[in-house]
């Protein structure tokens, strides 16, 4: 799997570190925000960090059943 970093171009997924569901970026501290997940089997918006590149946090939309990357953008933009 390769992710197209908006700053560095298309890179191997091993350069990135995974956090999880992009809704976590909202930073809610209630029970549901911290613990509950939609966990869909299709398109999933999720946070990755390009730790071995520009170190930017990215919001990736990916089909978690096929690993097709649908979109990549800088998180929070």
């Amino acid at each position: 799997m390769r992710l197209a970093c908006p700053h560095c171009g298309e890179r191997d997924s091993r350069e990135f570190s995974y956090l999880g569901d992009a809704k976590m970026a909202a930073g809610g501290e209630d029970f549901a925000s911290v613990y509950l997940r939609e966990n869909p089997s299709g398109a999933h918006a999720e946070l990755w960090q390009h730790v071995l590149g520009c170190r930017a946090w990215l919001e990736v939309v990916r089909n978690v059943s096929t690993h097709e990357v649908i979109s990549v953008k800088e998180a929070g933009k």
Partner: protein, 416 residues
């Protein structure tokens, strides 16, 4: 048909034409007292214990594929009871005891092989932490031994003791732990449940859960609607999809865990070895193949296949601990989808829908849990209460703060 040496002789004299399929292949009836969704190890065990321990006969197990085709046939077959947390340790202790009698209980050889489990320690801190864990295991009545470096070397001489990156300082050995044949566990429980009247319905995918006024009434399936008095979800890997049919969101993410097997070799690895520091574990199947694996790939996945990066990492870790592995050839690799819960421990509980029950979140510990999970879930569904050994696996523990977090990694399912 009860299996015995006499039966083998009798069948031998009649040309082995009398053996019957292990279970019937019935069409679904229009209604059941209890429906278990998911014909994996846990679902079949639940149906078996519902019939055996609680006398319920009108039960269906609905399986979207075929028996033995899901995670029960895709795991690395390790059975152990080396947990430290209060909520986990009585459960896995009970499960190991059930494993020890399982072949006799089911009249079916599940090939449980208590060949031991060795957890390697590489630092003073690890020795202390594992000694503490060994004492906790001993205190609840199970077995654990702390080995020093020389004892580990005598027990598993093929490990790397020369200029190794992580020198072995000792290890925790649980001799009653081991492996079992995963297919036989599924088949044995299926046969046992079928003999007690349970309908095992394959190729029957649940597409909806019928709920009226907060009470479950039945399920919609690819083979039509089926009414039910009670419904138990038991589909680890796909739990979030099933729960969504009942309007629930779960504290679970689905991740892929890879496993690998080499060509068949002569007896080489005599035990199960956990090399935790390197994220690597290994055992040898009765066919001779070395079965090994490591950590999750690390991101949400339903793909049932893993990435090359993790495969390289596992191979490197294996080579660093057992250099002789470099001479073997890997035959196959595969990936299974894990329900990774937010604290790394499972959930067996009622739901907010009356008569709808949930069993899932087994992370990568589901196989060893099968007998205890089935008997606990059966008791919950039949009586409304969990047995004491599973009493901590409540769905609301994330809300009340009663987490069971063996790894202490927080609400990060991919890190357990």
């Amino acid at each position: 048909m009860r299996y015995s040496a006499l039966e083998i002789v009798k069948q031998g004299f009649s040309g082995n034409r009398g053996w019957k399929p292990l279970w019937r292949d019935p069409a679904p009836k229009s209604a059941y007292d209890i429906i278990i969704i998911g014909g994996g190890g846990h679902g079949l065990a639940t149906a078996y214990y519902l019939a055996k321990n609680h006398g319920v006969r009108n039960i269906a197990v609905l399986e979207k594929g075929y028996i033995g085709g899901g995670n029960v046939g895709r795991n690395t077959t390790i059975v152990r009871a080396d947990y430290g947390q209060k909520g986990n340790s009585p459960f896995y202790s009970h499960s190991l005891k059930l494993w020890e009698g399982l072949s006799v209980e089911l009249n079916y050889n599940v090939m449980f092989s208590p060949r031991g489990l060795l957890e390697l320690c590489h630092s003073d801190g690890q020795i202390e932490s594992y000694s503490r864990r060994a004492n906790m295991i001993l205190a609840r009545g199970d077995d654990a031994e702390m080995l020093d470096r020389d004892a580990v070397r005598a027990y598993a001489p093929y490990l790397n003791f020369h200029a190794e990156r992580f020198p072995i300082r000792g290890g925790l050995l649980q001799r009653r732990a081991g492996t079992a044949r995963h297919d036989a566990v599924a088949w044995g429980y299926a046969r046992g449940a079928d003999a007690l009247g349970v309908d095992i319905i394959q190729n029957c995918e649940v597409t909806g859960i019928d709920i009226e006024a907060g009470v479950v009434r039945g399920v919609q399936t690819s083979r039509g609607a089926i009414k039910a008095g009670k419904v138990g979800i038991c589909v680890a890997g796909r739990s979030s999809q099933l729960a969504a049919m009942a309007g629930m969101r779960l504290p679970i993410e689905s991740h892929v865990l890879q496993a690998f097997v080499t060509e068949g070799l002569k007896p080489f690895i005599n035990t199960v070895i956990n090399f935790g520091v390197g994220h690597f574990y290994i055992c040898q199947s009765d066919k001779g193949g070395l079965v090994f694996g490591g950590d999750l790939d690390g991101y949400n996945s339903y793909a049932q296949r893993g990435n090359l990066g993790r495969m390289e990492h596992v191979a490197e870790a294996g080579m660093s601990m057992i250099p002789a592995l470099g001479k073997t050839r890997m035959l196959r690799s595969w990936g299974g989808i894990m329900d990774m819960s937010m604290d790394g421990s499972p959930i067996i509980d009622k739901t907010h829908i009356e008569k709808l029950y949930f069993n899932g979140g087994w992370c990568y510990g589901g196989f060893k849990a099968i007998p205890a999970s089935g008997s606990a879930y059966a008791q919950l569904i039949a009586t409304g209460d969990l047995p004491a050994y599973a009493g901590a696996y409540r769905l609301n523990r994330f809300e009340t703060g009663h987490l069971i977090n063996e790894e202490g990694t927080g609400a990060q399912p991919g890190h357990h």
